[in-house]
Symmetry: C2
Subunit: 246 residues, 2 copies
């Protein structure tokens, strides 16, 4: 019997892969990867067969069933199977479901946590999730429609930093809901596209402007809401002044 490794690939930069993730990619016979995993990272899986497990809109259940079947089939053939997910495998990636599915079928599973995009992408854009005196708590939610309609937005009223994954398409609804629950419309927000890569692009705005439909941004991007967004400008300004003074 083979083994399935549920592995986080980190936010995109191959340098943010863990040592253990590299080790299992090097011994992998099969790698089933998600859409957001970069080519540079896939290139590290030297001899493995690569299978695109990217889920298209609207047919997620069918593709998930297919992935589950592949995982069981290849592991049963005695192969080392890597299930490679962007970020961390247990943050909104159906990692827990795949884990339980495999365990129930008697397949050995090893989880290799990754650097979560939810935390690292804002940080690398100059927006750390916590900062003494500015943010002492953060929450991470999935911005899927089915999740949002079940959300009581008042629960996020006082969490200092709110990080929304997969929320670009529903950004107006999210911003409106937060403002309606009582969060200040002037609060700064940022959307970070292609975070951690040389092609990073950051759009800064306010909750009110997002709610009013004034912000153009393309998915996938990470949506950060909170005063800590101002640190990005503060750091850039301090850097400029220090350079000038030097």
């Amino acid at each position: 019997m083979g083994k399935v490794y549920l592995v986080g690939a980190g936010p995109g930069d191959p340098g943010l892969l863990t040592l253990k993730a590299l080790r299992v990619l090097e011994i992998a016979d099969v790698v089933i990867y998600d859409r957001l995993v970069s080519l540079e990272i896939l290139a590290l899986a030297g001899r493995a067969r690569l299978i695109d497990g990217g889920k298209c809109q609207g047919e997620q259940e069918r593709i998930q069933n297919q992935i589950n079947q592949w995982l069981v089939r290849y592991a049963s053939q005695g192969l080392n199977v890597v299930r490679l997910k962007s970020g961390d495998p247990m943050v909104f990636a159906r990692g827990a479901e795949e884990w339980e599915y495999l365990i129930r079928r008697g397949i050995e599973v090893e989880v290799v946590p990754g650097v979560s995009s939810a935390l690292a992408v804002p940080t690398l854009a100059g927006i750390p999730p916590t900062c003494r005196g500015v943010s002492a708590s953060f929450a991470v939610i999935a911005g899927h429609r089915q999740n949002l309609i079940n959300t009581d937005w008042s629960e996020y009223l006082r969490v200092d930093t709110l990080i929304v994954l997969m929320g670009v398409d529903n950004r107006e609804y999210i911003a409106e809901s937060l403002i309606r629950a009582g969060r200040d419309a002037s609060q700064p927000v940022a959307f970070i596209e292609r975070g951690s890569t040389p092609r990073e692009h950051v759009v800064e705005s306010s909750l009110g402007d997002v709610a009013a439909g004034k912000v153009d941004v393309e998915p996938p991007a990470i949506f950060v809401i909170g005063e800590v967004v101002r640190l990005r400008t503060r750091l850039a300004k301090a850097r400029g002044e220090a350079l000038h003074a030097g």
Copy 2:
């Protein structure tokens, strides 16, 4: 002029260090590390001078000032300085403060995000932060006394999974506050000591029993609250049944 790398060492297992963290440890002249960073990881900093920056209770401000001075001094001497923190450097570790302090003094800073203990330690104990149908959101807070007294606990009433770092000493207060705000006393909780290492120890209980002072646990440990804690038993049971059936 040298450079300061603000680096996350991950939760403890050296395999969860990132490739970039290993690379900067290998070129480091000086490593200033936190108390929770393991010896195996420090051993990877081959030629560097190692400085213990562990903060003792009650003298945090003095030690933080000392660390800031060291960072500036060694970088100004043209050295490669690694500031090594356990987990991720921007999750409750004063990473953001050190970043801004250094930038203001004209020192180049590179942040290397790490695998956050807040997410990876529960996962490796069988408690993923999110799981479809069980947990669609999570929040992370610091369990320091000064932070807790400013917390409105009702904000965490409906966040599915609540992860408290540095909260062992205040566990009764935290559990009581959550129950008083309306969270169910029967909700399962877990404390994970030495997570991600071979010496991991997990204590499972309920919010009510923690509030009643019935749970013995030693800091440091990660305190997880939410239905997703039940997955740990479910996975263990499924593993046992699958082994039996096979």
